[in-house]
């Protein structure tokens, strides 16, 4: 295992110290592993709390700041944080208007946030609403299963719900906007290589030099199928077509197109992918209204990418364009 780390047991703690030093505008509660917006709680504003296993950086800690999250909880690598962290985060950002929990749809995340909400309710009475993100079309949705994973849409939800909260809208409305983004977003991912969890010290799965995994999540899980490596235009097809099959993206005000790197894929390749995705969308009569290209929700040192499309309307585009000032996403401020 080749990584720029010390003891694998201390990766999260060390990285949090680095984040805190690089971003004095944020507050880091090292004991609870919670990253908080420097001026939290913001009076009268709905607080946005997210979190999940670490290893997806910049998600979620890199999205804390005005216009996006109020706090993020960092779990162990690929392991949901514990309720204590979520309770601390919720209390730290409660400005009197309630708190929205943005939860990716993983059994662990769901249950831990659920426990946290129960604890907050019993404790302080802060009003908590929850939105669950489940945008991954690689997973078949069904009432009888854990359902779809939450992946790329999380970034879009955090940005857009963050903007809605910044406008002073009430908890129910912010939750509704978040739910709308999730309802209109779909994602699909692909791995060229496995990632290596520091504590494990070896790749999670073995992938021969001529194979790739299609339909992966963000936790180094194997994908839905293994296929021979292919050029970018074929990969774009593999990612975009299940998305377009799942939801009709025509007829809106265009899409927000998000091409995400899994951690070890350089930007130049993501731009190549974005070009291919763009061409496919044009062919399908789907205009790209906005775009985001870069490693925003990663899987440690996995090489690969994911595509997320969000069917947008005027409201979502306006909120997408609103100012945001976080370590990983910044504009208009």
């Amino acid at each position: 295992m080749k990584k720029l780390i010390n003891d694998p047991a201390n990766v999260i703690a060390d990285a949090l110290h680095g984040l805190a030093a690089a971003h004095p505008e944020l507050r880091v509660d090292f004991e609870n592993r919670v990253i908080v917006r420097g001026d939290a709680p913001v009076r009268g504003k709905v607080g946005l709390v997210s979190g999940g296993g670490s290893g997806h950086e910049p998600l979620h800690g890199g999205f804390v700041g005005p216009g996006m999250l109020d706090a993020a909880c960092a779990g162990e690598v690929f392991t949901s944080p514990v309720p204590d962290q979520m309770v601390a985060a919720t209390q730290a950002v409660d400005g009197g208007a309630g708190v929205l929990h943005i939860v990716k749809n993983y059994t662990g995340d769901i249950m831990n946030f659920e426990l946290a909400a129960e604890m907050v309710a019993a404790d302080s009475g802060t009003e908590v609403a929850t939105v669950v993100i489940d945008d991954d079309v690689a997973v078949q949705d069904s009432l009888y299963t854990a359902g779809r994973r939450g992946v790329g849409a999380t970034v879009l939800v955090e940005k857009i719900a963050g903007a809605a909260a910044e406008e002073g809208r009430p908890l129910a409305e912010v939750a509704e906007v978040a739910g709308k983004v999730n309802a209109y977003a779909r994602s699909m991912g692909l791995a060229l290589t496995s990632c290596t969890v520091p504590a494990a010290g070896r790749p999670t799965f073995d992938l021969p030099d001529d194979q790739m995994e299609v339909g992966i999540g963000i936790h180094g899980e194997p994908g839905r199928r293994r296929v021979p490596v292919a050029p970018a235009n074929e990969i774009a097809e593999m990612l975009v077509s299940p998305i377009l099959t799942d939801l009709d993206f025509t007829g809106g005000d265009g899409v927000i197109c998000f091409v995400n790197g899994m951690g070890a894929t350089p930007l130049i390749e993501l731009y190549v992918m974005f070009h291919e995705v763009n061409q496919l969308l044009a062919k399908n009569g789907i205009p790209v209204a906005r775009s985001l290209v870069g490693p925003y929700i990663t899987s440690l040192d996995m090489a690969g990418c994911s595509v997320t499309l969000l069917k947008a309307d005027d409201e979502l585009l306006r909120l997408w364009d609103a100012p945001v000032n976080t370590p990983a996403l910044r504009r208009g401020v």
């Binding site: 949901s80 426990l115 009888y144 854990a146 504590a199 494990a200 999540g217 180094g220 194997p222």
Partner: protein, 205 residues
């Protein structure tokens, strides 16, 4: 069973999990995200330390400490599931716990896991090992065998039965058909829990 017997049970469970940590993680790598061994080991080490730091006065206090520790140290799916199980055990445990009382405690654990995780038998989760264990304990209790050994054997059988299954709950469900052919990691850790009970409580029971 006194609190000391039950403490020994938890310690033995922790020991077995530490021993099998990499194996549990390997199982989770195949169909999950490769952390189940670390998760359980982290939680149980903390639980054992907490029990040492302030030894509980009653079985109920013991289970509560373990449950709270699992919830606040593990995260992931197994933290809330094992945590809820132990908290429910705390709520249902008398002092001392006799065999019939232990049956009740096991039922409470299973109900906790199901309430929290909403899985049914056949979903390829820890429920697939815990359910037959609880049933076998009841049956052996009624028929006069060693209920602890019966429960451990049944858990192991339940675990094996998860191998061909396509997962419907937890991370393994994302794999669809590819989840078949591997035992469930959580069902595997449950067999360690029941094996620990058989060796520490089976004679004391």
């Amino acid at each position: 069973m006194e609190v000391s017997d039950l403490t020994a049970w938890v310690q033995e469970f922790a020991r077995l999990v530490a021993l099998e940590r990499d194996e549990l993680t390997a199982l989770d790598s195949a169909i999950g995200d490769g952390d189940h061994g670390f998760n359980m080991d982290r939680g149980l080490s903390a639980a054992v330390a907490a029990l040492e730091a302030s030894p509980p006065e009653s079985p109920s206090a013991l289970f509560k400490t373990v449950g709270m520790t699992m919830i606040s140290k593990v995260g992931g799916a197994s933290g809330p599931l094992y945590g809820t199980a132990f908290l429910r055990m705390a709520a249902s445990a008398g002092s001392p716990v006799d065999a019939a009382g232990f049956a009740q405690v096991l039922h409470a654990a299973l109900e906790g896991v199901v309430a929290r995780g909403k899985a049914s038998v056949g979903d390829k989760t820890m429920v697939d090992a815990l359910t037959p264990a609880v049933e076998a304990f009841d049956a052996a209790l009624a028929s006069g065998g060693d209920p602890f050994q019966a429960a451990a054997d049944a858990a192991e059988k339940g675990r094996e039965a998860t191998i061909p299954l396509v997962a419907r709950k937890g991370r393994a469900s994302y794999l669809g058909e590819r989840s078949a052919g591997h035992p469930d990691p959580g069902a595997t850790s449950v067999t360690l829990l029941m094996r620990a009970a058989a060796t520490t409580l089976g004679n004391a029971g």
